[in-house]
C-alpha cells in the first residue's frame, strides 16, 4: 500500500502547474470523456447569463410601465378632484349664471308620478 508523504503534495502541485502551463490539465485529469458535459455546463452558464440579461430588460420595462401607471393614476386623481370641485352647488350656480341660463335652484319640492 502506497503511503503518502508531504513531499507528494509538492509533486502534485508541480505536476498540476506544469499541466496547466502546457494546457493539458483536463487531459491529465482524464476527463476527456466528460468533455460534452463540460461544454454543456458552459452552455448553461451562458444561457443563465443571457436569461438574466433578458430578465433585466423585462424588469426595466416593468419599471417604465409602473412609472406610466403612476402617471395615469396622478392624472386620474387630478381629474376626479377637478370634477368633484365642479359639483359644488355654489359652483353649479356660478356656471349657470355665467352661461346665462335661467335654470336655478329648485323652489318647490319634487313631484313623483306613480
Amino acid at each position: 500500500m502506497k503511503t503518502w508523504k508531504i513531499s507528494d503534495i509538492g509533486v502534485l502541485l508541480k505536476n498540476s502547474f506544469t499541466a496547466i502551463m502546457k494546457g493539458e490539465f483536463l487531459l491529465r485529469l482524464n476527463v476527456g470523456k466528460y468533455f460534452i458535459h463540460i461544454i454543456y455546463t458552459f452552455l448553461l452558464f451562458a444561457l443563465i447569463i443571457w436569461v438574466s440579461l433578458m430578465v433585466e430588460t423585462t424588469m426595466a420595462k416593468v419599471e417604465s410601465q409602473k412609472a406610466q401607471i403612476r402617471e395615469l393614476k396622478i392624472i386620474n386623481s387630478q381629474k376626479v378632484y377637478e370634477l368633484a370641485e365642479t359639483t359644488r352647488r355654489s359652483e353649479v350656480d356660478k356656471r349657470l349664471e355665467s352661461l346665462g341660463s335661467q335654470v336655478g335652484e329648485r323652489e318647490e319640492r319634487a313631484v313623483k308620478l306613480n
Binding site: A60, Q78, Y81, A84, R88, R89, E108, A110, V111, K112
Partner: protein
C-alpha cells in the same frame, strides 16, 4: 510511453505556438483577476468618501400607500390625495464651466423662463423671478425655491418652459413631488372631515376630524422593495424580499355635502355682519338613524375677524344651554307622572319660587295680560317661563316631607344621556357638567335653575340627541358620522310622552318664541333657548353691563312625521346687543328647512297613487 520516446526534437507548429501564447496570456489574466478578487475581499480598505460616492444611496425603495378617499352619503368626494409639484433651482449649474457668451445665453434663457413663469403663475412679475434667479446665481444658491406648489397640468407646462426644457443638468431645475390632501369642497365641513397635509405626515397628535380619528383606516401600510442598479437603470431586485404596500381604505360618511353647503350658507348669511358674535354651529341629524347629515362649525378668527371652521363647537364647547333644557324638565315630570297634562296650571302671581332666590318678572306681566292668576305648563313652555320650570323642578324633586327627589331628577338627566360623553366618531366630545348635591357647591337654587337650563353645561350635540329622541318617539339614537346606527337608549320616554312633548314644541313654533318658523315649508317643532355666560366675577354681566349670549334653536321637521332634527347655536363676545335663540338661530334654520324641503327625496309629492303629504 518511455519506450516510444525518441531523441528527435519536437517540432512545434506555428498555430500551436500562437494558441499557446494566447492560452498563457489568458492564464496570467485569470491569475491576476483571482489575485485581485482575493485582495479586494480580504485586504483592500477603500476610502470612506469613495465608498459613499459609489454605494447607491437608495437601495431600498419605500412604497407609499395611497391614502383612502372620503365620501359623503351620496358618494360625492370629500377628500382625495393628489400630487403637487414644486420647482426649485440649482442656480450654480454650468456657472463655472460656461464661457462668457454661453453665460450670457444662459441668462437670456433664464429671462425667458422668468417671463413664462410670471405668465403661468401670476404671483410674481417676470422681473422678480429673474432677479431671484440672478441673485441665487451670484450667491451660489443651489436650492432656490422658484414656484409655489402647482398641480399636474401646470407642472407639465412648466417643464416645457425655456431653459427648463433643456433638462436639469443644463437648467438646474429641481422638481419635488408630494402627495397633498385636497378637499374639493374647500372649507365645507372642514372641522368634521379634518385635515392632513399629506399621507406621510404624522397625525397621531392631531386627531382632528375624521381624517384624524380614522387615520388607521385611511392611511394604509407602507411597503418596501430592494432595487439593484443595471445598465438599464434601477430595477427591482427579484432575489430580495418585497413587501407590498397596502393602500388605505375609503371612508364613507353620513354627511350630505349639499345639506352641508345649505347649512353653511344659511348660517353665514345670518352671522356675517354680526361683529359681536364669536362662534356658531349647526347640526342636521337624520331622525330615524342618528346619521349626521351636516355639521357646520363657524368660529371667528380673532386676528382676521373672518369666519372659518377652526373649532368643532358642536361637540367641543359646553355651556349652560338655557331654555332648551326646559324640555328635559318637562319630559322628566311627564315620565314620572307629576303632571299628566300640558294644560295643568301653576300659580301666576309674583313669579317667585319658594325656597329659592328665583324670581321671574315675566309672570306678573303674563298675569296682567291674560287677566289670570294661573299659568298652564303649555303657556309657560310657549313663552319659555323660567318660573314655571323652576317651580316644576323644585315642587316635584325638591325636599318635602323628609324626602328629596333631586337624585331622581339627576338620574333622569343621566338616563337621557345628558350627563355623559358617549362614544362618538370624532374625538373631543365634551362630558356635560351636571351638579352634584353631595358637593359643597350645591345650593338650594341649583335644582330650580337646572329646571330652566342653568347650573348645567351641555354640548349642542347632546341637546340635539335628546330632541332627536323625542322626534323618534322615545328611541334615542346615537349620533354617528361613519360607524352605523346604534341605540343609546331604547326608550327615554313613552310614545305618549313624546307626542305630548311634540305638541308643546309645535306650540312654540306656532305661537311661542319661535314664531319665525311658523310659515316654513313644512311644520317644525322645536324650542328656543337663550343663556348668559358667566364672567370671572361670577356674574352674568360685566362692569359695563355687557352679557355673553348663547342663543339656540333646536327642533325637528316635519313635526308630525319627523325626518330630520336640527340645532343651531350662536354665542357672543361680551355685548350689549341681544342674541336670542328665536333670532339668528331660528332664521338660519328656517332657511335650511325651506331649502332641504325642496330637494330632499323624502319630501317629494307623489301623484297618481296615494298622495303623500308631509306638510
Amino acid at each position: 510511453m518511455e519506450a516510444g520516446k525518441t531523441n528527435k526534437p519536437k517540432k512545434r507548429d506555428r498555430i500551436g505556438v500562437i494558441l499557446y501564447v494566447f492560452y498563457v496570456f489568458m492564464l496570467l489574466m485569470s491569475i491576476v483577476l483571482i489575485g485581485g478578487i482575493v485582495y479586494i475581499q480580504l485586504f483592500f480598505r477603500p476610502d470612506k468618501a469613495i465608498v459613499e460616492a459609489l454605494t447607491p444611496n437608495d437601495q431600498i425603495r419605500k412604497i407609499d400607500p395611497v391614502r383612502g378617499n372620503i365620501y359623503d352619503c351620496n358618494g360625492k368626494l370629500l377628500a382625495i390625495s393628489c400630487p403637487s409639484y414644486q420647482f426649485y433651482m440649482d442656480c450654480t449649474v454650468l456657472k463655472d464651466r460656461n464661457k462668457p457668451e454661453e453665460e450670457e445665453a444662459w441668462l437670456d434663457k433664464a429671462k425667458e423662463l422668468s417671463k413664462a413663469l410670471a405668465d403661468e403663475l401670476k404671483d410674481k412679475s417676470a422681473d422678480q423671478y429673474y432677479k431671484s434667479i440672478v441673485e441665487g446665481r451670484n450667491k451660489g444658491n443651489k436650492y432656490l425655491r422658484l414656484t409655489r406648489k402647482v398641480d399636474y397640468d401646470t407642472r407639465n407646462r412648466i417643464v416645457e418652459f425655456p431653459l427648463f426644457r433643456e433638462g436639469r443638468f443644463k437648467s438646474g431645475m429641481i422638481e419635488v413631488r408630494t402627495d397633498v390632501r385636497q378637499y374639493p369642497y374647500g372649507e365645507l365641513a372642514r372641522r368634521t372631515i379634518g385635515f392632513v397635509r399629506d399621507n406621510s405626515s404624522d397625525v397621531a397628535n392631531t386627531h382632528i376630524g375624521l381624517e384624524g380619528k380614522f387615520d388607521y383606516i385611511l392611511h394604509g401600510t407602507q411597503g418596501r422593495e430592494y432595487l439593484r442598479r443595471t445598465d438599464r437603470g434601477r430595477v427591482v431586485n427579484s432575489d430580495s424580499v418585497r413587501v407590498q404596500a397596502v393602500d388605505g381604505k375609503d371612508l364613507h360618511t353620513t354627511l350630505n355635502i349639499d345639506y352641508q353647503e345649505i347649512a353653511d350658507k344659511a348660517l353665514r348669511e345670518q352671522i356675517e355682519n354680526e361683529e359681536d358674535l364669536e362662534g356658531s354651529c349647526m347640526v342636521i341629524m337624520e331622525t330615524a338613524t342618528g346619521a349626521i347629515r351636516a355639521m357646520v362649525n363657524l368660529v371667528r378668527d380673532p386676528k382676521s375677524g373672518k369666519w372659518g371652521e377652526y373649532q368643532n363647537v358642536a361637540i367641543g364647547r359646553k355651556a349652560e344651554p338655557g331654555s332648551v333644557f326646559k324640555t328635559v324638565t318637562l319630559m322628566s315630570v311627564l315620565n314620572d307622572g307629576y303632571i299628566t297634562s300640558l294644560e295643568q296650571t301653576l300659580p301666576a302671581t309674583d313669579g317667585k319660587v319658594e325656597g329659592t332666590s328665583i324670581r321671574d318678572e315675566h309672570i306678573p306681566q303674563f298675569a296682567r295680560q291674560h287677566s289670570t292668576n294661573r299659568i298652564s305648563v303649555l303657556d309657560g313652555f310657549k313663552i319659555s317661563s323660567n318660573y314655571v320650570f323652576a317651580k316644576l323642578a323644585v315642587d316635584n324633586y325638591g325636599k318635602k316631607g323628609g324626602t328629596d327627589g333631586t337624585e331622581r331628577f339627576l338620574a333622569n338627566i343621566y338616563n337621557y344621556k345628558l350627563g355623559d360623553a358617549f362614544d362618538f366618531d370624532l374625538d373631543g366630545l365634551q362630558t356635560p357638567t351636571i351638579p352634584n348635591p353631595g358637593t359643597r357647591y350645591w345650593t338650594n337654587t341649583d335644582l330650580g335653575t337646572m329646571g330652566y337650563g342653568y347650573s348645567t353645561e351641555e354640548t349642542p350635540l347632546h341637546i340635539l340627541t335628546f330632541y332627536n329622541a323625542i322626534a323618534n318617539k322615545g328611541k334615542m339614537m346615537k349620533p354617528y358620522l361613519v360607524e352605523g346606527p346604534s341605540i343609546l337608549n331604547s326608550a327615554v320616554c313613552t310614545k305618549a310622552v313624546a307626542d305630548t312633548l311634540t305638541r308643546a314644541l309645535k306650540a312654540v313654533t306656532e305661537e311661542g318664541t319661535a314664531r319665525r318658523l311658523k310659515d316654513a315649508k313644512c311644520s317644525v317643532a322645536g324650542k328656543t333657548g337663550t343663556s348668559f355666560g358667566t364672567f370671572s366675577n361670577g356674574q352674568y354681566f360685566d362692569a359695563q353691563g355687557r352679557r355673553k349670549y348663547q342663543g339656540t334653536f333646536v327642533g325637528f321637521f316635519p313635526a308630525d312625521n319627523p325626518q330630520y332634527s336640527i340645532i343651531c347655536m350662536v354665542y357672543s363676545y361680551p355685548t350689549k346687543k341681544s342674541f336670542q335663540g328665536g333670532g339668528i338661530p331660528a332664521r338660519a334654520i328656517r332657511t335650511v328647512i325651506d331649502k332641504v324641503y325642496d330637494i330632499d327625496p323624502c319630501f317629494r309629492e307623489e301623484i297618481g297613487g296615494k298622495r303623500k303629504k308631509n306638510k
